[in-house]
Point group: D2
Chain length 123, copies 4
């Protein structure tokens, strides 16, 4: 793998190679990968189940919890990058484009300090 | 933002700045962000609802579908990067570590061509 | 518990008693229960991960799979009934009301045989 | 439909008839319905996004919120009952069986007043 890759392109390539080596491309359809992304997002959420914010702050001081959290974040990210890769979408570009939309949708002047809820969103 | 950022660190910074400008840090607790990640993963999956793989392949030729897909991938990624950022976890490093684990868990010799199902996993 | 309860009210009561006996009412806030419902829906989906429809049809002949499926259906239903119970909502009535809405939204004449996708919905 | 049905069997029949009238049985495979259940559980969770427990308690006094909540509970329940129906599983029985398992797994003596977290579960 050489030195640490840092771009999304590098990570996507690393994962693509892993899939290719196991001949798993046949299973990696965007539909199956979107299902897997959603399942893993549920597993990420499970780490927070029953916890208050204070409980989470406490848990974040614990190495086992941090390791479990990093592992679940990785799982969501791995499948999400596979969805993008198999669908031919550039995820970094998608984020940049979406943030432009978000900046227009949530102008600073109106939103500063207001909760980002859809229930107080001007329509 | 200047030129296109490509690393996860660059993207995370861009999003952090967006949040800071709106004084939304108070709402961006890892717990709330994990909830949002899961919700967005559901919206991503919704694009595939009722579709067969053939339907998805067809939809991927359609610009409106691709744009909607890029937008939902971005939403999941944005919240996921916020979970990582607010929890002090490096998502690129998390992926790299997880892929090491995956390479050991799924040795090429055994897994080549076998479906990655938990039901045929050697335990 | 006496004989098998069959109404949603009976099931909700059975679960409420279980919670009360463990002094878990303090944890059973609708917010936490909605999180748990979503996590369990992800676990239900996990049983279908990587499977084609044909794979699922085959799996449904297998007792271990059926038992796992019944267990995950139960988990989603249990948490969902708790959300409804703690929020003071009658789930049976909610379904009946929603089906009325659905009958109006999807008139038989137009929808017979068309896929229920939001992409071919008249707006 | 006649008078209000209250059992899960009655509700399942009502939904089955709705599906049949639109010739949607061809789309109602357990796999697709499990996907839909998960999507709807995400929409249920979305009603709680960004909210504290106090915010939720306040929102529950609001008719529009309660109506939206009842509608999302119904959507999850409708798809979940379809998963069970198409897979030939009795959901009421599944809940009753699962509650038996839960009573054994979480003995009152040990669990009374302890948070139902997997992190303090005796293994």
């Amino acid at each position: 793998m050489g030195e640490k890759p840092h771009t999304l392109t590098d990570l996507a390539e690393m994962i693509r190679e892993f899939v290719k080596e196991r001949d798993w491309e046949q299973y990696n359809h965007p539909l199956s990968l979107a299902i897997s992304t959603s399942i893993e997002a549920g597993e990420l959420l499970e780490l927070f189940q029953w916890k208050t914010k204070a409980d989470v702050d406490e848990a974040l001081k614990n190495d086992a919890f941090r390791k479990a959290l990093a592992s679940e974040i990785a799982d969501v990210l791995i499948y999400l990058l596979r969805v993008a890769d198999t669908a031919g979408i550039d995820p970094a570009r998608a984020v940049i484009e979406k943030m432009k939309v978000n900046r227009e949708k949530y102008p600073i002047g109106y939103w500063e300090g207001r909760a980002p809820s859809r229930f107080n969103r001007p329509k």
